[in-house]
Symmetry: C2
Subunit: 308 residues, 2 copies
């Protein structure tokens, strides 16, 4: 999976992942109205509107970006119909040749982790029948429970050519509360980084990166730089660009000398671009997907500028 991702990044000359984190505030009124006419103001209508909105954005950007990252919480909150929209979004993105990173941040042990792993990146079995359910190419995980909470997924990475991005240093303001704790000579996030690197060492692909990646926030450049040194074979999924305040310069440290090694997420800066001052004079609400396309083009330029 990591080689497929890198191939997509190289082909599209773009390390941007589009965060498909829909909110009803972001969805244009004409889509919501259509949804409410059919289903009333219900979770089902919200789920339908999310899928319609996502498909239009995917159509507008799939030739420019290597991957999308749907955030499951946005769908899960609306119950079974939301989950169906999450799955349908993934299937649609894959039809368009995109790599899909499911931002699920699950954390559980033993048979429970196996259940998540089977459902998301493996197959669930019902007697002699086996089903792919969520279809992600890669998912995010939380490491707090230690290796036995990760092992079932590692096995599936091997068996089904899938990938992981494990939380090391997150982009939120309070991330340091636990992640920056001092272990005497090193910080917790450094130790976790070493563990993640170690967990992935059997799964290094042709391009020198492991199927087991790390989430490293762009809002903490010094720490990201340190982690890049500590984890030379670990691909980074980098949140925090744009809406959360990190600039292209901040996150340049996440890349290696060949301009590889990281994929940078932007969610609302792309999917809700038509609502930003920068784009709303040129794009009407009906043209929301074109605004997203322009935002992707602008972000690509911004990232390339920082590496020049």
């Amino acid at each position: 999976m990591i080689d497929r991702l890198i191939h997509q990044i190289e082909m599209k000359e773009n390390p941007t992942v589009v965060g498909l984190d829909p909110r009803l505030d972001f969805v244009p009124a004409f889509i919501k109205e259509e949804a409410y006419e059919s289903w009333g103001k219900t979770p089902k209508a919200a789920a339908w509107a999310f899928l319609k909105y996502n498909k239009a954005i995917i159509d507008a950007v799939y030739d420019l970006v290597p991957a999308v990252k749907p955030q499951v919480a946005m769908y899960e909150q609306f119950g079974p119909e939301g989950i169906q929209a999450y799955i349908d979004t993934i299937l649609y993105a894959k039809e368009k040749g995109l790599i899909v990173i499911g931002d699920i941040k699950r954390s559980d042990i033993a048979s429970t982790a196996e259940a998540y792993a089977d459902g998301h990146i493996g197959k669930v079995k019902v007697e002699d029948e086996a089903f792919e359910v969520y279809h992600e190419d890669s998912i995010t995980l939380n490491p707090y429970l230690g290796y036995d909470s990760i092992e079932p997924y590692i096995k599936h990475c091997k068996d089904y050519d899938k990938g992981l991005f494990i939380l090391v240093k997150t982009s939120n303001p309070n991330s340091g509360e636990i992640q920056d704790l001092d272990l005497g000579g090193e910080k917790l996030y450094e130790r976790v980084g070493k563990l993640v690197s170690d967990w992935g060492k059997e799964l290094i692909g042709k391009k020198g990166y492991s199927q087991v990646g790390a989430v490293v926030g762009a809002t903490h450049p010094e720490q990201a730089k340190r982690l890049r040194e500590l984890m030379p074979h670990t691909f980074f999924l980098v949140p925090g660009y744009g809406a959360q305040g990190a600039t292209a310069k901040d996150l340049a440290v996440c890349f290696d000398k060949n301009g590889l090694g990281a994929i940078v997420n932007s969610s609302r800066g792309i999917i809700a671009a038509y609502k930003l001052d920068k784009y709303k004079k040129d794009y009407s609400e009906k043209e929301f997907a074109l605004a997203s396309r322009q935002a992707v083009i602008d972000m690509k330029k911004d990232l390339q500028g920082a590496f020049a």
Copy 2:
């Protein structure tokens, strides 16, 4: 919520929570056959079988236990229909007067955490309409991202009278890999324990315990003892009894001098009791729910014996 939970524990003189973590291996053949006849060997059949199985167990134990804890992974793996079975299990348990702890172990930040909080313990809004979706009374969370990943849930605890159990020290063999790291004078799980205690200090109920509880594994009695001292106002959800190897004596340290302060989970030891040597001579597969009832009675005695 914590006062309601304690009231149920006192009324039923039993601090047992039944872990509703169904697996197809556990579900009696006659239920599975009925499911496969209607829906084929499909995720839908698995979801239907789980709900039927859970309802029979709830019917057999609801007068004896204060709470149930469905593990969402077991349902989520089967997709939207699994999620519907999770919700229907919760609604059925609540009809029977049980407190429901959703074992979801979510971890995310800002607007994402809000989406989880709205869906699980609050209300999701679709314009001017608001919907309860998952209906849990309480949920489990992972603290690795720090306070901004917890805050939206705390707000909902206040607004909707709900509860949380935040992972502090888990019961799995590798839990120490990160949780036991030495911060120089204290261990990481102790620091996290203090944070959890602090996060809950505005939400202490009439019985002296906060709506913000902690997950503290029974498989590490010395550490549980230390946490009980550090966190006098924090209610513990204690996994690890039975199948994972902890005995009633091991977990006695989780309780206060009044025999309160903790609720002890058992999953397969109760829900799959009819498969255990101890019960299978007295209960046929058809009588699986009666075996679960007997397992609850035996566990209650075992716990009471350890406190005597």
